[in-house]
């Protein structure tokens, strides 16, 4: 996240460090219509759209290639009263500070992530691990949000965790755009670790992946593509999560290989 630090940024950072309580201002909150301007269309996404998806999902929005004159709004302080939004992406601050249409994306280290999966009030915390470079993740994301709606009352808490490069402003901006577009009004986290550390600390090789944690933050179930002969599907996650919330145990692990 190396970028020139303006005096505004410094001032705002100071305020944030002092307590994260200042009203960040609302004048430059991007709205979905604001940020989703299809400037260039990813040919692959287009090709994918041409094919019927295996499960009916809402159409994937064309990828946006930021134009030179259209930098992420977050980093464009226009006056002394406006806040460079990206600087608010610091852990510990009010998530609402980065709010855009009720959607916030928080930058967290792995240690902070480990605290976020401790949810004494929830029976089960489900983390959907995704990234903007992952097609199947984006296709299935609506299903993840739907699960939060369907099962929150039964004790499910859903968190999204993107492993997009937190040091790349474009990647962060694209991740935010996606979350805003999907109206992802859940806890949205982005992991601030090196590429190697990210995967190693999460014990992850491939996304999408879904991790389930008990109220104490203990990882109790992983859904992954780790075994080529047993790649998970989100329908399976939903079924097992639903059963678990109804008091049924998770099915015994299929015999490997």
């Amino acid at each position: 996240m190396k970028r020139p630090i303006s005096s505004t940024t410094l001032l705002v950072s100071l305020i944030l460090i002092l307590g994260c309580t200042e009203d960040p201002g609302t004048s430059i909150n991007p709205t979905p219509t604001d940020v989703i301007k299809p400037a260039a269309v990813d040919p692959i996404v287009e090709a994918k759209k041409a094919e019927p998806a295996p499960t009916p999902v809402p159409p994937v929005a064309p990828e946006v290639t930021p134009k030179a004159e259209d930098p992420p709004k977050a980093e464009e302080p226009k006056s002394e009263t406006e806040v460079p939004k990206a600087e608010i992406l610091v852990q510990g601050c009010d998530p609402a500070a980065d709010d855009a249409d009720g959607v916030a994306l928080e930058l967290v280290k792995f240690a902070e992530y480990s605290k976020r999966v401790v949810n004494k009030d929830a029976k089960l915390t489900m983390v959907d691990i995704w990234a903007t470079f992952c097609g199947p993740c984006k296709e299935n994301y609506p299903h993840v949000l739907e699960m939060q709606k369907k099962y929150a009352a039964k004790g499910l808490k859903v968190i999204s965790l993107t492993i997009d490069d937190a040091g790349d402003p474009k990647a962060v901006s694209d991740a935010r755009k996606f979350l805003i577009e999907k109206k992802s009004k859940i806890t949205n986290l982005i992991l601030d670790e090196s590429e190697d550390d990210k995967y190693n600390k999460l014990d992850l090789s491939v996304i999408p992946a879904v991790y389930l944690y008990d109220p104490s933050g203990k990882l109790i179930k992983r859904y992954t593509y780790d075994d080529p002969n047993d790649q998970f599907e989100y329908d399976q996650v939903e079924k097992e999560v639903s059963d678990f919330l109804d008091g049924k145990p998770f099915p015994a692990k299929k015999k490997a290989k």
Binding site: P208, Y225, P228, A256
Partner: protein, 206 residues
């Protein structure tokens, strides 16, 4: 006592191929590489049939690719460059794509797309399509890109990622694949035999 140790050692030898690697659910370094035959591939613009046993080079690098995968895109040029850097040496790269032909990305991953890709990028090696996915499954490949280095006896000497920063070349500090190829070429021990390959999940036929 000595007999017992010996028999234990023998048992370990017999048992080892069945043990998966640290990250790979099928193979570990030291295992015999699964054979593949008759893979429809594109090499030098022409359709060829790719078989492991037809390869004469001392070192074979088998990599699992998929055109649609942004992680492959991020290290494709590096891979082509690396392959070209062994020109004149006894190293052969082959790429195989195991995307299910019923997958939404098949259009960009299939043999026709591979043909276009090979031409566009100037691939110096064969790139094949295995929609049945049996080759990838035999290698335990779960992501693209994932690399396997085989020696002259077609024993797996390295498996995993190309380097420690697949998505972002500027972050590369450890060149696992290159180091492994060089070690095998020089007849030396490969220092790091297995790493975690990260990338796009292979869209296998279900």
């Amino acid at each position: 006592m000595r007999k017992m140790i010996l028999s234990l050692a023998a048992l370990a030898l017999v048992a080892s191929p069945a043990l998966a690697g640290k990250y790979n659910s099928k193979l570990s370094a030291g295992d015999k590489a699964p054979k593949f035959t008759g893979v429809k591939s594109i090499e030098n613009g022409k359709e060829v049939s790719l078989s492991l046993e037809d390869i004469k080079e001392d070192v074979v690098v088998v990599t699992f690719f998929a055109n649609h995968c942004p992680v492959v895109v991020a290290c494709e040029d590096r891979t082509i460059e690396l392959a070209s850097s062994y020109k004149g040496k006894s190293v052969k790269f082959v790429a195989i794509c195991c995307t299910d032909d019923a997958s939404p990305t098949a259009k960009v991953d299939d043999l026709e797309a591979i043909k276009a890709k090979v031409k566009e990028k100037g691939y110096s090696f064969a790139y094949g399509y295995n929609p049945a996915g049996d080759i990838g499954k035999a290698y335990g490949a779960k992501v693209t890109p994932e690399y396997f280095v085989l020696d002259k006896t077609r024993t797996v000497k390295y498996l995993g990622a190309m380097d420690d920063s697949t998505m972002n070349e500027s972050g590369v500090k450890k060149t696992y694949l290159k180091d492994a190829i060089n070690a095998v070429l020089a007849g030396e021990t490969v220092e790091i035999e297995e790493t975690r390959a990260t990338g796009c999940g292979v869209q296998y036929k279900r």
